[in-house]
């Protein structure tokens, strides 16, 4: 019996908002795995684009990218990360120069790196669980 399984029911890891994820996916772990996979790919791609915008000093462009990926953390049950991204988005909106938000940008990237690591782990667990049930 895997730790994340109880009574044949998938239990998300403690780092995630379990109650929200259970409401969102209602036991559909196949969908959860798909959303985790798609979100991970999209976040990584968009963050690369954000780096380009940073290099161009395009603060509005950076804000738009982070606004776009923000809900993806919610779909992965990382609601606190979603809040951090919102805070960063607000800082971008209120700033003129990229240098004003450079520290915040480095911080949010660090937070997201940690979040992605947890999400990848969870996705593997979801895949294992789904494979066992298949």
């Amino acid at each position: 019996m895997y730790e994340e399984e109880k009574d044949n029911h998938y239990v998300f890891s403690e780092h995630f908002d379990r109650q929200f994820l259970e409401e969102l996916y209602a036991g559909d772990t196949e969908s959860a795995a798909e959303v985790f996979q798609a979100s991970l790919v999209q976040i990584v791609e968009e963050m690369k684009l954000a780096d380009e915008k940073v290099a161009e000093g395009d603060i509005a462009g950076v804000r738009k990218i982070y606004h776009k990926i923000k809900p993806l953390f919610g779909y992965m049950g990382l609601l606190s990360v979603q809040d951090f991204v919102q805070h960063f988005e607000d800082q971008c909106r209120d700033s003129v120069l990229m240098s004003d938000v450079q520290i915040a940008y480095d911080n949010i990237k660090e937070i997201i790196r940690g979040a992605l690591s947890l999400a990848r782990e969870e996705q593997l667990k979801l895949n294992e669980y789904n494979n066992r049930r298949a």
Partner: protein, 229 residues
């Protein structure tokens, strides 16, 4: 009742969730998904929907820009990850405001609001006009201007005093859509504007020179509806 809808959302994962929730509800039919407002507007210029799930911030035009350009007023549920649009949402009289991500339960609450608003609109609407798809656009026709509607197989012809409009529809479908107090089906191929009937002779009625048959099945109802002294 089934509500026809479109999703305007640049985040594929969010759109996928919405499609699943709509299917699960059994009452929302998603006709199309658009990644930006511009493509949605092209679709909406030729198609009528009851409901739009609308993101606010998208590449190009925003959800509010889209609402500014609508020629008719379907219900709108804003789907956004930001709460600060709430005031604007209120100004635009949207039906609900869903913050992404949202659960199925929260989605259902929104749909209940759609149903409630529909019931309110039906009871208070002036119902003085309809929109039809014709000539590659949505054309507004005042009820007063429509003389009668004639079946042409899978198409119908709206006859006004000035012009004829042909559109893809059926008399059977239109019978439930037009204002029942003003319009009436008098034959399997005709719906007439009761206020525009000039005279009735036997099983025929006359509107601006046009002769329209009244079927036996509809004759008694027609006679009940018109004011015979």
């Amino acid at each position: 009742m089934k509500y026809s809808s479109i999703i305007v959302e640049d985040l594929q994962a969010a759109a996928d969730f919405l499609v699943k929730f709509c299917e699960k509800s059994g009452i929302i039919n998603v006709q199309a998904h658009f990644l930006n407002a511009e493509d949605a507007l092209v679709y909406l210029s030729e198609n009528l929907v009851d409901l739009i799930f609308l993101d606010v911030e998208m590449p190009g035009a925003s959800g509010f820009d889209l609402m500014d350009q609508l020629v008719y007023t379907p219900q709108v549920i804003l789907t956004t990850s930001k709460t600060e649009y709430a005031y604007d949402a209120f100004q635009y009289n949207v039906t609900d405001y869903l913050k992404k991500p949202f659960t199925y339960q929260r989605f259902l609450e929104s749909i209940q609001k759609v149903e409630k608003k529909k019931a309110e609109d039906d009871s208070t609407a002036e119902n003085d006009h309809i929109f039809i798809k014709a000539d590659g656009k949505l054309v507004r026709l005042q009820n007063d201007d429509i003389l009668y509607i004639e079946s042409m197989g899978d198409y119908v012809k709206f006859i006004t005093a000035d012009k004829k409009y042909i559109t893809h529809n059926t008399i059977k479908n239109l019978e439930t859509k037009v204002d029942g107090l003003r319009f009436m089906k008098v034959h399997r191929s005709y719906i007439v504007n009761l206020s525009r009937i000039d005279d009735i002779q036997e099983n025929m009625l006359y509107i601006k020179g046009a002769v329209i048959p009244i079927s036996k099945a509809h004759k008694s109802r027609v006679m009940q509806k018109i004011n015979v002294i």
